[in-house]
């Protein structure tokens, strides 16, 4: 037992606290307004030991790097190794993004965070009629292994860790295979590669609901194939990054964001165990991608609560023993949805607060948004400014001096416990629905997200949630103080290259490659094992997608 306060003390504090509240303004006028977190948790005027009276220090908090990891996943945290500064980059054809990667690395970024264009994320070639307008937009265009070679040309794959934002499993299975095949062609063995792929089936089936996507079960299978493949061949690669960030961007609340990533990780873990893997072989590489929203303390509490819940899930449900399996490791990106198109320079301040809460919450890596992202893809200036913002936080503010500096704050601890409670309730509810794949098939998740997104918008429109520059302090006739990024010509560049490749590659090799994939689907084998080899034939991503959609069929998700 390591209770923080004895009962008599708590009782006295509670009594005096009540008296204080009644005798001060808090009983009356100061309570006229509703005080709630962004996710709707009611907030007290002041927090005291009364609110953390049930807490047992060693059981509920412990030490950094030790169960239940609430105070951080490493014993030394930022004193030994600060968070990775991973700035998202990607646009146009691969030769253009290659330049941006090199610029960011030369300016001090400590990892690559590569995003792919909309057609690539959805499994279409740049030449597909459906893809034309979006080619090179939102990320870099990748059609074949040759594009991947160009994208990472001159970047030391054995040294730089790469995060591949291959959101949809239908994209990941091919694009990650291309990254691995390219590494092998350059003589870098897979077990030397460090990085992360996103690979989240909810991204395909829930977050961006489009007709004609892979059904949830098939998308989930592809995601698990990549996890299994990496566990066996690329043990330093994080084969999945549960995209809570995007769940939140779509509308989720803080507790839903955590509950959905953990429910997803539970489903993947169950599937890996079913496939015969030991939990401690794959769980250390399950990683999470979280959203830094505007409610400063709620976000810090969210990260801390996520660590506690994950620890208990892995310990109790999966009997994990390796401390790395039990530790919730995560990357944070500052909230895009909180950025405003109005007075865009204000976004620098917003994102800095978001990033500060990530640092105080113990993130392993942090991306700060460009101030212009409500308007366009970040320009060179806005990208560098975001990186500098990250560097200022890490080098100048000294928040890295001690681990979990807000641990023990009555408020933060109470909020952490409250969020934990809400997350556990949602997990229980999803268990009752048959797990997250089922909850997706029935549209339950879609409904939850759409409701929360609508409420958020309502709160802005009724003025309940002030957004500076949008529903207050607007400036009419505002002149945009920034230049906007124009995506370089992509469709023509990709079309030309693809034409040449299709002429030069061996048709029989391509056919063999596609047949092998098709056979693997029939035999329910691990598709990544096959696709890593197949991409050598310069088969395109779109050609692989066609086979997968042909074999697994397509699904029309519930619209809302």
């Amino acid at each position: 037992m390591s209770k923080l306060f004895n009962e008599d003390v708590v009782e006295e504090i509670t009594r005096k606290g009540d008296r204080w509240q009644q005798s001060t303004g808090h009983g009356g006028k100061a309570n006229d307004r509703e005080f709630r977190t962004l996710s709707g948790i009611s907030v007290e005027p002041v927090y005291t030991p009364e609110h953390t009276a049930d807490m047992d220090y060693l059981r509920d908090l412990g030490f950094p790097g030790e169960p239940p990891f609430v105070r951080g996943v490493h014993p030394t945290m930022y004193r030994e190794r600060a968070w990775t500064m991973r700035q998202l980059a990607g646009y146009g054809p691969p030769e253009e993004t290659n330049k941006r990667y090199k610029l960011l690395l030369s300016e001090g970024a400590t990892g690559i965070n590569g995003i792919f264009d909309y057609p690539t994320l959805r499994g279409y070639d740049s030449t597909d009629p459906l893809a034309r307008a979006d080619c090179g937009r939102g990320g870099v265009a990748i059609d074949t292994l040759e594009d991947m070679r160009i994208l990472f040309d001159g970047i030391p794959l054995e040294k730089v860790s790469s995060s591949l934002v291959t959101c949809q499993p239908i994209c990941n299975i091919t694009v990650q295979s291309m990254y691995f095949a390219n590494a092998r062609n350059r003589g870098v063995p897979l077990d030397k590669l460090t990085g992360t792929s996103q690979n989240d089936f909810l991204m395909e089936t829930c977050m961006a609901t489009a007709p004609g996507v892979l059904p949830p079960k098939a998308s989930f299978k592809l995601s698990c194939d990549a996890i299994e493949y990496c566990t066996k061949h690329a043990p330093r690669w994080n084969p999945i990054s549960f995209a809570g960030y995007n769940y939140r961007e779509s509308g989720c609340t803080a507790d839903q964001e955590v509950a959905f990533v953990i429910a997803n990780a539970i489903a993947c873990s169950e599937e890996m165990v079913r496939r015969g893997l030991d939990v401690d072989d794959f769980a250390p590489r399950l990683s999470f991608f979280m959203n830094g929203q505007s409610d400063f303390f709620e976000e810090i509490a969210k990260y801390r609560a996520a660590r506690r819940v994950w620890y208990r899930v892995m310990k109790e449900r999966f009997k994990a023993k390796n401390p790395r399996s039990l530790a919730f490791r995560f990357h944070v990106q500052t909230a895009g949805v909180a950025l405003t198109a109005q007075q865009p320079l204000n976004n620098i301040a917003r994102s800095a607060y978001h990033a500060l809460s990530a640092a105080l919450g113990g993130a392993q890596s942090v991306h700060i948004d460009g101030y212009d992202e409500a308007l366009c893809i970040p320009t060179e200036l806005s990208s560098i400014t975001a990186l500098r913002c990250n560097q200022i936080l890490q080098l100048e503010t000294r928040v890295t001096n001690t681990v979990d500096p807000l641990g023990g704050s009555y408020f933060v601890e109470a909020l952490t416990s409250k969020l934990e409670e809400k997350i556990l309730m949602l997990l229980e509810e999803m268990d009752g629905l048959g797990g997250i794949v089922k909850a997706t098939e029935t549209g339950w998740i879609h409904g939850k997200i759409a409701d929360a997104a609508y409420e958020y918008q309502n709160d802005i429109e009724t003025g309940k949630m002030p957004v500076v520059g949008v529903n207050c302090y607007r400036m009419d006739d505002e002149v945009l103080p920034i230049e906007l990024f124009e995506v370089p010509e992509t469709a023509k560049v990709q079309e030309k290259r693809l034409k040449r490749i299709k002429k030069e590659r061996s048709d029989s090799e391509v056919r063999r490659a596609l047949d092998a994939i098709s056979r693997c689907c029939d035999e329910d084998g691990n598709l990544m094992e096959v696709i890593v080899e197949s991409v050598q034939s310069l088969v395109t991503e779109g050609e692989i997608t066609e086979v997968l959609k042909d074999k697994y069929g397509v699904w029309n998700p519930p619209l809302f």
């Binding site: 893809a131 034309r132 307008a133 979006d134 937009r137």
Partner: protein, 131 residues
């Protein structure tokens, strides 16, 4: 207003971009404002959008574009409508469409553009006013 037909609006997200939060929120808000809303989801081609608009007999098409492809997609939709000889369907838009491009879009007949931060009540009021 008994007996009067509800305004019918098609909300669609052309192209492959997945940022659909805005489109869905607008669809729900217009529905709550008393309109009949057909939400077409993502991945719509301009032709599919125009065909749906005709089949569903809508008075307006709202296109949500956050990919930057607005200068390709709006002109396509406008010219398809023209080809079909349709002049009574209003096309309006929303998303990350920079102000400097509004002029180009309006010159080809596109109606109001609602950038990020727009109030859904303004969108509803606009539609009730012009339709």
């Amino acid at each position: 207003m008994a007996g009067e037909r509800k305004k019918r609006i098609l909300i669609a997200k052309p192209g492959l971009d997945g940022h659909d939060r805005g489109a869905k929120v607008v669809a729900r808000a217009l529905r709550n404002a008393g309109m009949e809303v057909i939400y077409a989801g993502l991945h719509q081609t301009p032709l599919q959008i125009v065909n749906t608009a005709v089949d569903e007999d809508v008075e307006a098409i709202g296109l949500s574009i956050l990919s930057g492809a607005h200068k390709t997609i709006f002109p396509k939709v406008m010219s398809l409508l023209k080809q079909k000889g349709i002049s009574d369907i209003l096309v309006f838009g929303g998303g990350t469409i920079p102000k400097k491009d509004w002029g180009i879009l309006k010159s080809i007949g596109v109606g109001e553009i609602f950038p990020p931060g727009s109030d859904t009540r303004e969108i509803a009021a606009y539609l009730y006013k012009v339709l």
